[in-house]
């Protein structure tokens, strides 16, 4: 078992408008892509965000060696409960997932 952050080049998260968050996992190689693609279940991401798996959209961009997840923002951007205006820190929730 290895942590996701040790396998891939970068995990990036960002707002996709005020209501959505999008996470791009740049695997960097075909090997890493295959490993993450088979080892990182959408349910693991759902667990990290404490939401239902059905709320998450998953995209596999094999040519780019990228796996992308999009989900409704944990809190709408800029509301009282929101703590990260640009949503860039949510990526760290995936770093330690064991693959």
């Amino acid at each position: 078992m290895t942590k996701l952050v040790e396998i891939v080049v970068k995990v990036r998260s960002k707002n996709a408008g005020p209501f959505w968050l999008t996470i791009d996992i740049f695997c960097g190689s075909a090997e890493a892509f295959t490993r993450v693609s088979s080892g990182l279940a959408t349910g693991m991401v759902a667990t990290a965000f404490k939401i239902e798996q059905q709320m998450i959209k998953r995209f596999e961009l094999e040519e780019l060696h990228v796996i992308k997840f999009s989900l409704p923002r944990p809190y709408v951007q800029g509301t009282l409960a929101d703590r990260d205006m640009h949503g860039a820190s949510y990526s760290t929730l995936l770093n330690d997932i064991e693959i």
Partner: protein
């Protein structure tokens, strides 16, 4: 062939002047730049103001106006003043007038406003012309009444109408990031899929290249595709940097929804022409049955005062959650009693910086640190009330003991006073689209002659 020069990802962000000069030398047909986005939060739309400094905006806009005069082509800015509200458009129009006066320029300016008035929005809601996107906040006429600004995102059609006035400069309110780039190629019959795809690649300037800080990028559009050409001296567009840009701030990497249809890049082909240029073909534009524009709005949710204290004593750091929970309970009770308020009249929160201030209840990594920042956040229905409550919080942040039986501790306040008024607080309250019978129906286009 239509050449669109994009100086940078947003006015006020800066760009490499040499790259811009190189772009002007390439004889563009139009210069297009974005003026904002929702990414910095609801404050700007809520207040109708710009995020960037006026002086910085003026200085860059003056240079772009000079570049426009040299190239002798239109200059268009979308989402003027960060949020594209009417007041933010007026702000940039005033800056433009100042520059025209100072430089002795005679220019024709088209002003496209995207602000929506309450009566029209209420009528549209009642007529069923406003539909929710996913996830959409609850919408009612009451919600609409509470909005300080409602804007509709203009697409290519409205920018084309502005271009058709023959204006030298177009200052547009809220538009989609891409419409200011795609409008001219589409009007001149370039490939529609390529017009929107190239626009998406170019909307952040050189961000889609190996040298994001160079800012400037040129895109050539034709009847079959488009070619992306970075203007920075060492900037390169590669098939990877270009294709990866569709991921950026986009929830679906293949689809981009615009007024009047959507872009589908699933079949796009990317080819490196040489070390710096990438050719894109195969993107598809799919027109929709209805013409809809996205709506954005912000409403005031209260006023805030924040306080900052620092906890350094190891025993308090070790038990900081217990300490802060106790403060919340005791201080909230005191606020209700002293100010005769109910629990619904205010919120009082302590965010523990160094513990979980960023991720809140999603945090799994509780590391021990030598100190903890305690950010008190008070929200209430007036600034004076928020400040009163924050003043009631003050003695706790300064002296609250972990147990009753111990010497009174004193924590670190970095400022005097520790309370800072944050002013009005806003939130985004629409994620909806508005159906239009005519693309210009929800927008106002006027022209001005400015004489130096």
């Amino acid at each position: 062939m239509v050449r669109v020069l994009i100086p940078s990802g947003a006015l006020g962000l800066g760009y490499d002047r040499d790259a811009l000069a190189r772009g002007v030398a390439c004889k563009p047909d139009i210069i297009a730049i974005d003026g904002g986005s929702t990414d910095s939060g609801p404050h700007y739309l809520g207040s109708g103001t710009s995020k960037y400094s006026r002086q910085s905006t003026k200085s860059e806009w003056r240079e772009l106006m000079a570049a426009r005069a040299e190239a002798n082509v239109p200059l268009v800015i979308g989402t003027a003043g960060t949020c594209g509200a009417d007041t933010a458009v007026d702000w940039l129009v005033a800056i433009t007038q100042e520059i025209a006066t100072e430089t002795g320029a005679n220019i024709k300016v088209a002003v496209l406003k995207s602000g929506q008035d309450l009566d029209a929005m209420t009528a549209a809601l009642e007529a069923g012309r406003i539909s929710p996107l996913d996830p959409a906040p609850e919408l009612s006429t009451e919600v609409l009444k509470g909005c300080t600004n409602i804007v509709a995102l203009a697409g290519a059609e409205q920018i084309q109408a502005a271009l058709a006035t023959g204006a030298d400069i177009i200052i547009a309110g809220r538009t989609t990031d891409t419409a200011i780039i795609s409008a001219l190629p589409l009007a001149r019959g370039c490939h529609a899929g390529a017009a929107w795809h190239g626009a998406k690649i170019g909307e952040c300037g050189a961000l889609a290249t190996t040298s994001p800080n160079s800012g400037t990028i040129l895109i050539e559009f034709d009847s079959e595709g488009c070619t992306v050409i970075p203007m920075g001296e060492t900037a390169q567009a590669t098939t990877h940097t270009i294709s990866a840009h569709m991921l950026y701030e986009n929830s679906d990497p293949y689809i981009l929804i615009e007024p009047g249809g959507h872009l589908d890049v699933a079949g796009a082909r990317y080819v490196s022409l040489d070390e710096t240029r990438v050719r894109i073909t195969g993107s598809k534009w799919v027109p929709s049955h209805r013409y809809t524009v996205k709506l954005e709005a912000a409403r005031r949710t209260g006023y805030q005062t924040v306080s900052l204290a620092l906890v350094r004593e190891p025993r308090y750091v070790a038990h900081v959650r217990q300490w802060s929970d106790d403060i919340i309970a005791k201080c909230s009770a005191k606020v209700r009693e002293r100010l005769d308020l109910s629990a619904a009249d205010f919120t009082l929160e302590l965010r523990l910086i160094g513990v979980d201030a960023t991720l809140g209840d999603l945090e799994t990594h509780i590391a021990s640190s030598s100190e903890v920042g305690v950010l008190g956040v008070v929200t209430a229905q007036s600034q004076s009330l928020a400040r009163e409550i924050a003043k009631l919080l003050n003695p706790y942040l300064l002296h609250h003991p972990l147990t009753e039986q111990e010497e009174m501790p004193t924590f670190a306040f970095p400022f005097s006073p520790p309370e800072m008024d944050r002013g009005e607080i806003y939130e985004f309250c629409l994620n909806h689209v508005l159906e239009l019978a005519d693309p210009m129906e929800a927008f106002q286009l006027t022209t001005l002659e400015m004489a130096g």
